[in-house]
Symmetry: C2
């Protein structure tokens, strides 16, 4: 198995405003995207890959001259890999509101000439899906072979099946949920409070003050990391290992390896991630709830869907537990939709969707082989 | 069932310094405590109740002229209640380092004449147990009928059985663990970082700056609250209930009831709890690990214990899960110690140990009835 090789991000500007769920409009925006593989003659082999909180359009391959610049899903996407770029044309797109190139809080607000900051409009999963659909319009792709996403990306994949039912043949949603639980929202809210109450946040206009709310971002990231890992995985990796041999009897110095790990993750994150993006993306997570318009009846919500579904969950994922995936599967079965479900026995918690567990990748390999068989005419 | 009625805290000063695990000494300290019930003639009916993070000596009864001032374990302790004050003499004591009356960071350091603040020495579960033993010396109580504690209080009860094996006949340890997991330490560390990086913390000497690190304390408390409740209990109580009917499309305004609840809890806590105490108590939790001196062999650690044990856990407690209590039980069984174990099917998570679940209280009622039968001479 090899890499897709050198990739290069591309920018697609949109002159037509994007009407958002909130009623606001996003004007003069740009989407940054990357592709790998070749689009076939009838444009039937495109797979859209949706990203989660801390990721981007850079799904696979590397950037020229940059070591260790592999895309975040490089273990899954490439020639001979489960999502095989010898067969599929893979598109990764950075969502508006993010901080990795597409129009977001760090860019200039055309209405004021100033950095958007906290004035960037609240965006939803549905808004992102609409933006992605417009990118596909611009690329001349009428129908996707599949939409694939994990976590928040999985929510986008589900939303695709409801908003543009005939524009995808398969929805592949991994480690996701039909909405956030109270506990999920609670963790998001604590992270947001840590950011918003950091004096360096300046109401979201910290750019003008030439500072960053690093303290809040660090705490937010540390909380996030705890929820990405399973209790068992954290225990196996760190346990009660000490940073030093003897007990230091200190409340502020690092005593345990887990503290060292979390502080390091927080420090790194606080230097590159945008605080307003963190608020926007966690809020998009909170709001996502396709059943809400149907009185909470998820099965009724899926009446709109016509594609086939592959749902995957991981046993030790306590952020989006298997039970939440089973809710999706049950709603689809109730609606007599075509759905396959794999519950992978993996120790890594939510992070498992980014790792190359052989059983997990086996499921996705088979899934995409079946999808490829449809457009290559094979019966597999 | 009635209340123990009006109680009054008492203060016991100690002129002899307390030698701490760190090597430091705590000088001229005072312990605040409360008692209910009557000590019997041979002083054989005393039960020591140990508190956890956010609690104190005020375990039962009310304060004169103060409505709603019930002690934190008032549902368990009183005449006719599971820990029956008609039979037992119950002692609650505030641990040094706390912020509810006993000597702690908010008090004056006799060495400097200034408020201790961050200079208060790091205290451990073992230090607290030593301080409690001295209080009992002063009260003339040689042997306790039982030591009872939940969560961090349960760790103190376990430590009693190891440090003063012949000074207690029963150890009743509820919703506790033989040490913190990596995930437990991780949550403590995030809370500590939120406090320490709050600019109003001033390195722990905020008293001199006439301010409080409220932002950090709020975030710390919000994180704590998430871990005290089970996922299911939070879902049942809050779910995705909105504060307002329509979606507000805001990242900072309160949208969900769970956000409102957490912010309220954080606000309240930040006004009365001491930030240095939070650091000290979470660190005491981190450090507790009686098996450490025995190469991790908990069974070897319990070689010192001679009392009887009642261990209780709750099925939905994910902070100190039943599995952690089972480790204690297994170590005791390996050592052929007298141990009873109850795993209570309760939906409330870690907080269950403070609630009056009938099955839970039934177990403790039977446990204390058996203990009372020993000194009243009944065979029950």
């Amino acid at each position: 198995m090899t890499s897709v090789g050198i990739v290069e991000p591309q920018a697609m500007p949109f002159a037509q405003p994007l009407a958002l769920q909130s009623g606001a409009q996003l004007r003069d925006y740009t989407l940054v995207y990357e592709t790998s593989g070749m689009l076939n003659a009838d444009k039937s082999n495109a797979v859209l890959v949706c990203h989660a909180l801390n990721a981007s359009h850079h799904v696979a391959g590397t950037y020229a001259g940059q070591d260790k610049s592999e895309g975040w899903w490089d273990n899954l996407i490439g020639p001979g890999k489960p999502l095989d770029t010898n067969r599929f044309f893979v598109i990764g797109v950075n969502n508006p509101g993010s901080c990795f190139g597409s129009t977001g809080p760090m860019q200039t607000n055309p209405a004021t000439g100033k950095t958007y900051g906290a004035d960037f409009p609240v965006v939803t999963v549905e808004d992102w899906v609409d933006a992605q659909a417009r990118l596909l319009d611009a690329l001349g792709i009428t129908q996707l072979a599949a939409v694939l996403g994990g976590s928040l990306g999985g929510m986008q994949a589900l939303s695709w099946s409801l908003r543009y039912p005939t524009r995808l043949r398969h929805c592949v949603a991994v480690a996701t949920a039909p909405n956030l639980s109270a506990q999920n929202i609670a963790f998001n809210e604590v992270a947001r409070r840590a950011i918003v109450t950091d004096p360096d946040f300046h109401g979201g206009h910290f750019y003008e003050h030439h500072t960053l709310p690093r303290r809040g971002l660090r705490v937010a990231r540390m909380i996030g990391h705890i929820t990405y890992l399973s209790d068992d995985a954290m225990e196996a990796k760190f346990g009660r290992e000490r940073k030093r041999g003897a007990t230091g009897f200190s409340t502020q110095e690092i005593e345990f390896e887990i503290e060292s790990y979390l502080r390091h993750q927080g420090d790194k994150f606080s230097e590159y991630f945008d605080a307003n993006t963190y608020l926007l993306i966690t809020r998009a997570l909170d709001y996502f709830d396709p059943a809400r318009a149907f009185g909470g009846d998820l099965s009724a919500a899926f009446a709109a869907a016509v594609c086939k579904f592959q749902i995957v969950s991981f046993t030790t994922d306590w952020r989006f537990a298997p039970q939440r995936s089973r809710e999706i599967v049950k709603a689809l079965v109730d609606r007599k939709r075509d759905v396959s479900y794999a519950e992978i026995d993996a120790p890594h918690g939510h992070d498992a969707f980014l790792l190359d567990d052989p059983r997990y990748h086996g499921v996705l390999r088979a899934c995409f082989a079946n999808i490829a068989a449809e457009f290559t005419g094979k019966t597999s």
